[in-house]
Structure formats: C-alpha cells, structure tokens
Amino acid sequence: MRFAKKVKPMKTRIIKVDWLARVEGEGGLFVKVRDRAVVDVKLNIFEPPRFFEAFLRGRHFTEAPDITARICGICPVAYQMSAVHAMEVACGAAVDGQLRALRRLLYCGEWIESHALHVYMLHAPDFLGYADAIQMAKDHPREVQRGLRLKKAGNSIVALLGGREIHPINVRVGGFYKAPARQDLLSLGEELKWARDAALETVRWVARLPFPEFEQDYLFVALRHPEEYPFNEGRLVSNRGLDIAVPDYEKFFTEEHVARSSALHSTLAQHGPYFVGPLARYNLNFDRLSPLAQTAAHEAGLGPTCRNPFQSIVVRSVEILYACDEALRIIAAYERPESPALNVQARASTGYGCTEAPRGILYHRYKIDAQGTILDAKIVPPTSQNQKVIEQDLWKFVPQYLNLPTAELQWRCEQAVRNYDPCISCSTHFLKLDLDREA
C-alpha cells in the first residue's frame, strides 16, 4: 500500500490513498473534510480504459465468451456466462437440463474462489487490525490455510469444467466444448464436502468480527429466479418494486461518464444510485438459499435483510456455503448429456444477458448480423454500478469517525470501500481513447 497523507493545522483534513491496496485492479480514493464536514469524496479509477466493447465489433458471435473472459482474471466465468446467454437470446436458443446445471456448477466454482479470496485475504485483515493477510497469517495461520484451501476447492471446479483455472476455455455458445463424465464430477465430491464444512466454519468465524454500526436505506438490485438463488437467470428486481426482464435493463438503468474516472457510473431511473452484489442478492433472495445456508445465516445473527455493508463479509461467507451446497447437489444429480452443446445458428438480432458475477449483476448486450458478426456490444460490470453507492457510503461514514487520527480514519475508509470487493480492473470500460484509435 502506498499512500500520501496530508494533515493541515487548519480545520481541513484530506485523506488520500493513491493506490488502494487489496482491491482488484488499480484505484484511488480522495476524501476531503472541512470544519468537521465531508466536502468531497472521489473514488478514482485510473486503470487504463478497457477496449473490449470496441474490440468485439467485427468478431464472430461465438468468440464473445472467450474474448470477454479476458476482461477479468477473477471472474472470467461471469463474463462467459453473460455473453453466452446474450448470444443464445439473440439466436433464439435455450440451454436447459444438464448443460444448464453445469453452467450453475461452474458459477459455484467462481463464487467460491472469488469470495474466499476476498473474505480471507482482502477483507478479514481490516476487521482484525492487520495491514494485510501476510501479517494476519502469522497470528492466524489456521484460518489463512483454510481460506487458501477453500479458494482452491472453487478453482478445482473451474479447472475441471472450464478446462483450466484462469480464463477457462471450455465454455461456448450453446453449452460446452466437452461435457465431463459423471466420474470426473464425483471426484470433486470429497473436497467439496470438506469445503462445505469449512464454509460453515467461515460463517461462524466472520460472524464474531467487530462491525461498525452503519445501516443505510439502500436500493438493492439483483436477479430473482422463481426457484433458485440466482446465478444465470431471472428477472431484475429491487427492494422498491422494480421487476423487469433483462432486455429492459437499459430502459431503466443509465450510465454516465464522470470526467475524473475512466469508469462509467450507473444509476436507476428516478431512484439514483443502487447497490449490487452479495448483500443485494441475499436481501432479495433469502428465501431461495438452501436450508443449510439459511440456518447458518440465522446463527450468525443475520435476519433475512442486512443493511450494514460491513456485514457483507458474513453474507459473502453464507454465499460460499450456499455455493458448496449447490455444487454438491448438482454433482449428485449429474448425468452426462448426450451432446455437450446445442447447435446455435446466427440470425440478425440483438441479445441481452445478465448474470450474477461474484460482485453483482453483469449485463451484456450484443447486436449481431445474419452471419453472426458482432455489430455492437455493451458490457456493464458490477463495480461501475456500485461506484456511486461506495462514494455515498463514505459521505455518511466519515463524519462518524472524525475524531480518529487520520491514519486510522483512512483505514476505516479503505475498509468501507472493500465492503464492495470492487473489481476495478473490469469496471473501467470507457472507450474515448479507443474510439480515436479506431478512427
């Protein structure tokens, strides 16, 4: 972590973190306090803009899952899933049965590895007073080992179904290139049973952490499915009455460019900033969690609604538990499908996909022609949707802690940002420079 601090003898305090540690990608934070009031908050994103939307134009529709998987090394599965669903909608295809179940299983793997990394390596040190996981490992080696092994259990699902751990290559429009044999999936069972127990221990462990009092009246947005806790499908719903189909996303949600940032900020029409990710999913889908996950949440002191973003570490742990439980359920019911993929034919159309990445809803829209060439692409990652809420939290959170020394206040601010597990490397997709280059 590199940061510059400046404390003026007057009544102005500036908290400036040039490099936010323990978030994905590169981002900075700026908070200005004058006369005991916050006067400015900026979450800066200075990762070079990502050019993927422009890069996709002119490529074949079948290439979208592999190209977009490159956007993020932590959640490639989410990009692949939103891409294949959007393309299948465009082409009028619907994947169901065991192929659909395999997609859910793949997503379980990604949630487990991404959440375990965040809970143990990135967020827990904040609560326990360590600068990082390395310092924490000296006093809590057992917990750190457990976190690493949990993450590996998630990796092993992604490696088996995706063909490899990072940037999986086995996903295609219509299904998979190769469907695993039943025996291959069963081989994951033993480690996943360990992981489920470890996830339960994780929920219990994080439930005992000290949480700042900070409940807010958020607008939560997540997918909701008639039967399942959402991964791949569902309607977009909110806690204030929104209930729309995915293709209507852009009628309700807008993105705006903010000059200081290379990411776009999202808002919901007539409502403003909204909150996506584990807390939103949990609050809008508690009844869809498995009984084991629900019980663990109750024992951890959570009701069906949680409005304290610092407790997202508990909710993330409950989701790890759910993902282990769901993975074991899918594996037990698995029969190898006759064909690893549907034959999907291109047609001139527009397709929309929205799935639940570990950090929240990830929206893709593609326009393709009759030959399957991509004419236009739009990708809205979860972190750019959360960015305004993160800043809003800081506006409200900082005044409660103004008596703290600057270094400690800064720590608190960083912790508040990490509540959202921001993935800054995939949230930057403003294309101004690329458009110049394309011309």
Binding site: R2, W19, A21, R22, V23, E24, G25, E26, P48, R50, F51, R70, C72, G73, I74, L117, M121, L122, D132, A133, I134, Q135, A137, K138, P141, V144, Q145, L148, K151, K152, N155, E165, I166, H167, S425
Partner: protein, 164 residues
C-alpha cells in the same frame, strides 16, 4: 531440463500477455521450456497469488520471472534472492489481481511454506498498456534473461551434485 536431475527446481514465468511487456516473464518461461524440451519444471502463470502458492508447493528451489517497473532502462534484468529477505513489493507492477507475487512469497514465508531457495528475476518493462507483443528492448532483454536463468540452474545443480 538438460542438466542432471536431482534438485527439484521449478521456474514460473508470471504475467499478463494482454498488457504488452507485462508478459515478459511468460515469454521467458516459454523460451526456457522450448530450449529444455521438458515442460515439467517450467510453468507459466497469470500471477494470482493464492494459486501460485499452491503451484510451487513441494519445490526445493523456486525461480520466478516477472516484469518490473523501477525506472531502470527497459530490458534491464534485476536478480533478487528472496530466500531469507522480503521482496520489495513496490518493484513489482500492481497486478490485475489483488494478491501479487511479492505478497504470495511473503505469505508463503509467514506460513512456513516457502521453498528453501527463492530467486526472483525481474525484467524492466517499458509498455504496459492493453495489447499484445513485447517492446523491442524487452524482447532483447528476454533473450539475456533466459541465458542467465539457464546458468543459474546449471550452477544450482552443480552445487547440489558437485561430482555429477
């Protein structure tokens, strides 16, 4: 590798091939593997720390190759012995992953899981923007890096087996 077997030496090239010179470590690993004709002791990796920890488990000697940014001339090769001293985290480019190789080495040390010998070769990068292909200076640097790593491996094997 073409040297006598016996010491468990693992070489890992780390980087992102879609961020230009950030892929220098990967390019060096690939060249090493081509020269050695045996892929078992050379790995390429995206650099996510937790997975790296797992990858080098059981190795006696670990040689890491990664792109660095220190302000030196592009293509310059830095050699750091991390066996008993912490790596300067600031030297390594912030990875797209929150958990970088310097942190992975230190976490392994804290957990008592670091290989006995850890040598880190950093190659000074020049261009880290989106795109593929190394800059000219770094491309040349990779050739020198490969030679140095081969010599290092040879020396390690000789010190382990002086009569072999």
């Amino acid at each position: 590798m073409d040297e006598p077997p016996g010491v468990n030496i693992l070489v890992i090239g780390v980087g992102n091939p879609y961020r230009r010179d950030d892929g220098a470590g990967l390019a060096a690993a690939r060249k090493l593997r081509d020269l050695a004709g045996d892929s078992s002791a050379v790995a390429e990796h995206g650099g996510e720390g937790a997975a790296l920890l797992d990858l080098w488990k059981g190795a006696a000697v670990l040689i890491l190759l990664d792109a660095v940014q220190s302000g030196a001339k592009p293509g310059t090769i830095h050699r750091l012995d991390a066996s008993s001293q912490p790596l300067p985290a600031a030297l390594f480019r912030t990875s797209t992953h929150a958990f970088s190789i310097a942190q992975a080495v230190e976490l392994a040390r804290a957990l008592g899981e670091l290989p006995q010998r850890v040598i880190v070769y950093g190659i000074e990068g020049k261009e880290f923007e989106s795109g593929t292909g190394l800059s000219g200076e770094v491309e040349e640097g990779v050739v020198g890096l490969v030679e140095r790593v081969r010599n290092e491996i040879r020396a390690l094997r000789i010190s382990e087996h002086p009569k072999g």
